[in-house]
């Protein structure tokens, strides 16, 4: 066996093991392996490594940790939807009121003034919370990271 051919086959063994070679390459490797005990041995070692890697055991988090993750996820998802509704609705209402006020100008009623105050207040609250969240974001990421 010529050494360059031998090396060429070796470079294919890894993909051969994963059945990711073209049919032609795969056939080439198979034929070579029939005659070459050295390459067969190398393939066997790679196979063993692959199997062992697949069988590595890692510690699972305790079940209550998962429950905690699920709880936090559902809180953050629900809160996201809630804020979106509040914000979208408030902006829509504000634009609608402004347009209506411009189109049909008349002195606003007490109810409209109070409604407007509540609306602007809600928006202010929303943006302040949003600003705080954005400022806290980098710290949040490290919240659970050990120093």
């Amino acid at each position: 066996m010529k050494p360059d051919r031998h090396e060429q086959i070796r470079s294919l063994l890894s993909a051969y093991l994963d059945e990711e070679l073209t049919q032609a390459d795969s056939q080439r490797v198979r034929l070579h392996l029939e005659d070459c005990a050295e390459c067969r041995e190398q393939l066997a070692q790679l196979e063993r490594l692959k199997q062992l890697t697949g069988e590595l055991v890692f510690p699972d988090p305790p079940e209550q940790e998962w429950e905690e993750v699920e709880r936090r996820l559902s809180v953050r998802i629900t809160r996201g939807v809630g804020w979106m509704l509040v914000c979208g609705g408030a902006v829509g209402l504000l634009i609608y009121s402004l347009v209506m006020a411009l189109l049909h100008w008349r002195p606003p009623t007490v109810r409209e003034i109070l409604g407007g105050i509540v609306l602007v207040g809600a928006l202010l609250l929303f943006f302040s919370v949003l600003r705080q969240r954005l400022l806290e974001l980098p710290h949040d990421r490290y919240r659970r990271v050990k120093q």
């Binding site: 070692q45 790679l46 993750v69 699920e70 659970r144």
Partner: protein, 179 residues
């Protein structure tokens, strides 16, 4: 040299339609990948949570021809790389000596006490990041080259060569166990 293969459809892979069911089915795999990447169980849980939150934001806009697991792995990988970079920056700022590998637990507890498994995990940890992730995605998570290429933003050919280099390193490092 690598074979191109049609990606299996999500339906063919038996992926659930709802994110809640998908979470139940894949949370553990997600956690393990995060753990293997960042080596710390608290961080891994945090990354898993963040990954599913990001998945939630794209769930209904995701490409239906691609398995959602590919998206999950890709999101997790980005989060993990982010975290590893930040750790490296912080280490540099605090002038801490570079630690070997990523894990902060003893490989023995991790790998089930067997000497070979412990040595194997230590060797995997010391692989360059690009080789390590490809090896884990292939041999632990059982993904095909094509899927790994999509997740890591490379080509199947490059996946094949990284995998070959990774395995060759492991084989040389663990030679005394393998003979």
């Amino acid at each position: 040299m690598t074979r191109t293969q049609a990606a299996p459809t999500p339906a063919a892979q038996g992926e659930p339609e709802s994110l809640a069911a998908f979470f139940q089915q894949y949370k553990r795999r997600a956690y393990l990948f995060a753990l293997q990447m960042v080596g710390d169980s608290d961080d891994a849980l945090e990354l898993t949570q963040e990954a599913f939150l990001r998945l939630h934001k794209r769930w209904h806009r995701r490409d239906p021809s691609q398995p959602a697991t590919a998206l999950l792995y890709a999101v997790l990988r980005n989060l993990a790389i982010d975290l590893l970079r930040k750790r490296a920056v912080r280490r540099e700022a605090e002038a801490e000596p570079e630690q070997q590998g990523v894990a902060r637990f003893e490989p023995e507890t991790l790998a089930g006490r067997q000497e070979l498994r412990a040595a194997l995990w230590r060797a995997i940890e010391r692989l360059p990041e690009a080789q390590r992730e490809v090896l884990l995605l292939r041999d632990f998570h059982g993904l095909r080259y094509e899927e790994i290429a999509r997740i890591t933003g490379t080509t199947s050919t490059l996946v094949a060569s990284r995998l070959r280099d990774a395995r060759e390193r492991l084989r040389r490092r663990l030679a005394r166990y393998l003979e």
